[in-house]
């Protein structure tokens, strides 16, 4: 029972972190068709801004100010650069965001140096909220979980229940008609891009202190974010949520299992006498391959259902 609770709860916590990381990306892709390679860079900027701001005026202001700055940066990037590149097609956009990734990494190194900075969990949330089967749960981790759930609910209701969401969705499929109805479509795109970046920035604020804030963090986070949005379905917010939690639970469960093919063979009473490479393969425990599982899921998903869980178009 304890194991099941831990797996589900930890899977949820980790999954919501992944969701926050990828929701902005899937939003931008779903709405604008731009695959933003620099998404993780905005996540990194969020962490660094939060580090700098919380050093002077505390964590709570940083939680609001840092994403706002990132949103502004994102909007400016869209307005003055991405919009111009947009007319040359998707390859140009992709290359642009790819370049942006490196520019941001270099800028961060120039400003904050190349070693990790000391961005820590705020003291007033740095205590154990409750314990379950020997594992303590930090108040900050629960706070992060709650914020990410709130973000999902807010995003979902804005996009589906409000007028703004209606205009955004219409602008994406029928930009000319929306434009002729008097709405400023480029402005809508700019706001969506800014919002997507702000979400990444917020994830950076919340996760930078637990994952460590350093110039290489964007690079190491890149791949997993793409797995989430492809498995969930490109452009689907619901899909990103389900895929994130699925990956979170799957990975947590897999790490807990110290079972290998060999141990399975041994329990049914056989011994295998293989030398060399095959031995390595059957000795691999599930916990060892756990970090590869999301990527395996990605491959399987692309084969059997290329549009992802909730997507409405193929990759």
């Amino acid at each position: 029972m304890d194991v099941i609770f831990f797996t589900l709860f930890n899977g949820l916590m980790y999954g919501m972190l992944l969701f926050m990381l990828s929701s902005g990306l899937t939003l931008i892709f779903g709405m604008m068709g731009v695959l933003n390679f620099a998404h993780a860079s905005f996540f990194m900027l969020g962490a660094y801004f939060a580090y700098q701001i919380s050093k002077y005026i505390g964590f709570i202001p940083a939680l609001f100010i840092a994403p706002l700055i990132i949103a502004f940066c994102g909007a400016m990037v869209e307005k003055y650069a991405l919009r111009r590149v947009h007319k040359f097609g998707h390859v140009a956009e992709l290359l642009f965001t790819f370049g942006l990734f490196y520019i941001i990494e270099e800028l961060v190194q120039m400003i904050w140096g190349k070693v990790p900075v000391g961005y820590h969990v705020p003291e007033f949330m740095d205590f154990t909220l409750f314990s379950m089967s020997g594992m303590g749960y930090q108040a900050y981790a629960i706070f992060t979980l709650l914020v990410s759930i709130a973000i999902f609910l807010a995003l979902f209701s804005v996009l589906t229940k409000t007028r703004v969401g209606l205009i955004i969705q219409a602008a994406l499929t029928h930009p000319e008609i929306v434009s002729s109805l008097g709405h400023n479509v480029p402005k809508v795109f700019m706001l969506v891009f800014g919002l997507g970046c702000a979400l990444a920035g917020l994830a950076g604020v919340l996760a930078g202190n637990t994952l460590g804030t350093e110039p290489s963090m964007a690079l190491s986070l890149g791949p997993i974010v793409f797995v989430v949005i492809v498995v969930g379905g490109l452009g689907s917010l619901k899909g990103a949520l389900v895929a994130s939690i699925l990956i979170g639970v799957l990975q947590t469960a897999a790490i807990s299992l110290d079972v290998s093919i060999n141990s399975f063979i041994e329990t049914i009473g056989l011994t295998v006498n293989i030398e060399s490479l095959w031995h390595i393969l059957i000795d691999l425990t599930i916990s060892q391959v756990a970090p590869i599982l999301p990527y395996l899921l990605l491959v399987v998903m692309l084969i059997i259902r290329p549009r992802g869980l909730f997507g409405n178009r193929d990759v």
Partner: protein
Amino acid sequence: MLTNFIKILLLSITLISYASITKAKDTIKIAIIEPMSGPLASVGLDFIEGLEFHAERINEAGGVLGGRHIEIVPYDNAMVAEKTIQQLRKVIDEDIRYVTQGVGSNHALNIIKTLQKHNKRNPGKEIMFLNHSAVTTSFTNELCNFYHFRFDANVDMKVAALVAQMAKDPSIKKVYLLNQNYAYGQSFQKAARKFLAERAPNIEVVGDELIVPFGKILDFNPYVAKITSSGADTVLTGNWGPDAARLIKASANSELKVQFYTIYAGIPAGINSMGKKVSTFNKVIQVTESHENDASHPEWLKEIDSEYFKFSNKSPYSDRQRFMLEMFVKAVEKAESTDPTAVGFALEGMTGRGAHGEIYMRAIDHQIHFDMVLSHVSTDVEKTFIYNNEDFGMAYVTDGWVSKEDLTLPTTCKMKRPKI
């Protein structure tokens, strides 16, 4: 007017290049190939700065062989193994006869293999590799080579030191091994199992885990849960960088009480990024050649340390660059030559001054031997660690020393020596 200007320009170019040629003849060049850009640049740049400081110190004290200066020539490999080879080709083209490197054993392996071919094909133009930090044990075992000298303890020796200290602590009963799944982590795991069985048979191994390396794991909670349920009181890990920081953070946040025996988890930038609370919540123990707050830290080394602080605005962390250059200079003086073959023979068995007694370069495998100190991170220290004006508020407290005799391990090296 213009022709005059061109004449002056040409003349000055000739003069400058002439000046640099004469300067090049006087100095003994040591090329250093490290990351100066990319995510690990800070590590590479710190090593280069340390080496430049010690070269400067030697030059100011009168240089080598009656006044010749040592010149450190940095090359950037951006932490890409192919670039290391490219830069090494440049070193060869520029006729630099000594090369040093340390960040990343795969880079060191490239240097060893490239130089092996070069030295075989170009007799009389051999290049020596002074390895200051690449710790893969095989470099001084089956891959050993006359022109390679290692000035850091290898993985096996470091693990032996960690286990020796663990054996002294009767409170340690159950240990959990957690390592990164690549060459270094696997050799750490293998050595740990071997030495625990041989030297600390009372300690039970309750877990043995290999994880995907290089910051790919974001969530260490499942591992913390496994360590908790295994009942381990100590975690023995070779993890470094984010893989170490996240593990230690996750343990502290989950209130898991264990000791961490590590090689690299205590490096200054790492403990600063984790913060005081996390770094001291559990005992994070590291193994190094010396540290500033040790009671037996000799006076002469304290002086060098404070000079280094004035030079770089950083507290000293590794002492290897110092004794590597000192022993190199001693070998050049002894050989009365700058030829790598002669210097190589002089370096074999060479002794030097260490932070805790004499250090020596073992002749059979070119592996340095020195006493190693186990220390843990603490805020209650005499001198806190300072890095570019930022006071980390922490440093290290000695847990114990392991003598070099206890760290002398057998080698499988069968070295082919050049004929003179």
